[in-house]
Symmetry: C2
Subunit: 322 residues, 2 copies
DNA sequence: CTGAAAGCGCTTACAG
DNA sequence: CTGAAAGCGCTTACAG
């Protein structure tokens, strides 16, 4: 490329990066030739030289839960708008493989990492990351005892609001939460309990903890109905669990919401499919991704202030399942 | 790192890469120190030196359609199993931004690219890519007139099989396909038509082409029912369209499948939600991703044979909507 | 068996 | 205003 114009690589670099020290005429000529040849600087070489790669890493748990792809979409879109590229790595639902995924990402000189499913046992890995000076942010889940940038919603308040809204006239209430150690699931379950407590009630002890899957919803609903017959209301930790609960209602001939009311959480696209129009909380997944990138970007640019906590607005959607 | 052991970087490189020319004793010592210090070679430097980055790029259209995340999951999993990392880039539904996404990926020295939503107008971009020696593969959609590695299913046969299966007793049949230029949508629509033709029938001309979205399903169903009243069967280009059609059936008090039968395509997880149990075709999305990586990997390793076409098995799932 | 040197493709002080 | 040189962190022929 340099040879084509008859100058040194240095001059090309100056010209293309708009630095002073090269005449306008020559600059234009170099730019023209670069365009013509389709010359583009190697990001590898630039990264190595500058120590800045414009790359970030995103860690996602498995994709059976459509929550994550939409979050990822926000991250990729936000990154792309800033000229950054995104390595996406996949980790187990329980955060298995976090460590190896992280080291692969760090080896590739990601300038920042975004985590979407942290659990308490990830603390050593994260403090190690911090010690190595790699900025990171948490999306959705957070960890008690680890101050870090975080983007999410107030799951407690949202669950309390949703539950209060549908509680009227419902006596026996089950809360089908998610994994015990997930801050998000814990917040949602606590919010539901708080709403019940405000009405002077306590939830049934059945099925409070479990996976955020449809199968888990099915299993827990079967066990619950076997043990207690149809209950009045099942508050679910996410829409997917709610789907499983409604599968069981259907299988046992129970009408939703007349016999059993059901609420979800997240407002996935399928939550309002056909006759099934789930009462749930809309979580701004895409925006969470964008905001997380914005925060990480600031860190990458050297911001060293206090951990930033971004709590986004949610929307309770009352439809026809509760 | 080299200094810590008191040898040159060269010796460290030899030791860590298991090359001959360094005593076992020294090798062990170097490995021990490397582990202790958490030393990991910079992928940037290795990439620059070797011209091999162990990185691939995946281009996805927007994620509203849950088809793609599961495909992406297969790609990421397959790549990870081979020690490769994946840059994920997002392009518009109609392949807008393909060119700029591709050049960003190429700048980052991706050794191969995987496309999931190519259209005929992408041909120049792809031939240019080939001219530059960057291997690529197509998943799901392909393009007539461009020989390239491809992984997918036989959409024509699957749609024909599905349609024949549910055709009995259904007189007026609409086919709600996807975008005209998508090979996948075209194949599915043609398969449905072939099944109809075999029964001596032709589809209604309404709504044959449209987006693969729920909104499009809603709009087309409304227009169809307005024009012709309830039809006997609507064959949809994917599950999401089918969802929209069933929304309209519900809104107009039409029973599925008694008044209107509906079929989908893809078998997304929500396709069998509660009372809604869509008759559809299961597409092995995850496996498509894995196979595409395997094929691309061979190319990256220098395989230059004929374009490889991998047609994966599908499964027709007859449930209760048709 | 080990060390010194060149080079991957850039950028950036530093001389001219 | 332009060119020669060093260096980012590695790997790999090439001498010793």
């Amino acid at each position: 490329m340099a040879r084509a114009v008859g100058v040194t690589p240095a001059t090309v670099s100056y010209a293309l990066n708009g630095l002073p020290g090269v005449s306008e005429e020559l600059r234009d000529q170099i730019k023209a030739v670069a365009d013509e040849m389709g010359f583009r600087p190697s990001r590898l070489a630039v990264g190595l030289r500058l120590g800045r790669t414009n790359t970030l890493g995103l860690l996602l748990p498995d994709v059976a839960n459509p929550f994550y792809p939409e979050l990822a979409s926000g991250v990729i879109e936000g990154a792309s708008a800033e000229g950054m590229q995104v390595f996406v790595a996949q980790v187990g639902l329980d955060g298995r493989d976090h460590a190896s995924a992280v080291s692969a990402l760090v080896d590739s000189h990601c300038e920042g990492l975004l985590f979407t499913a942290v659990l308490p046992h990830d603390i050593p890995m994260l403090t190690d990351l911090r010690a190595r000076g790699v900025p990171f942010g948490l999306i959705n889940r957070r960890i008690e005892g680890l101050d870090a940038d975080w983007v999410g919603i107030d799951d407690f308040a949202a669950a309390r609001e949703l539950t209060s809204l549908v509680l009227e006239g419902r006596q026996s209430v089950a809360v089908f939460g998610g994994p015990e150690r997930s801050s998000v699931s814990a917040g949602r379950a606590a919010g539901a309990r708080a709403a019940l407590a405000a009405a002077g009630r306590t939830p049934l002890p059945d099925g409070m903890v479990g996976d955020l899957t449809r199968e888990s919803g099915v299993e827990r609903a079967r066990a619950l109905f076997d043990a207690r017959g149809p209950v009045d209301l099942v508050v679910c930790g996410n829409d997917v669990i709610a789907l499983g609960v409604m599968d069981v209602c259907h299988e046992r001939g129970l009408a939703v919401p007349d016999d059993v009311a059901v609420t979800g959480f997240d407002d996935m696209s399928f939550a309002s499919a056909g006759p099934l129009r789930l009462t749930t909380v809309e979580v701004p997944r895409h925006e969470m991704g964008r905001q997380a990138v914005a925060g990480l970007r600031r860190r990458m640019l050297g911001f060293t202030g206090e951990p930033q906590v971004v709590e986004l607005p949610y929307t309770v959607r009352r439809r026809n399942t509760a």
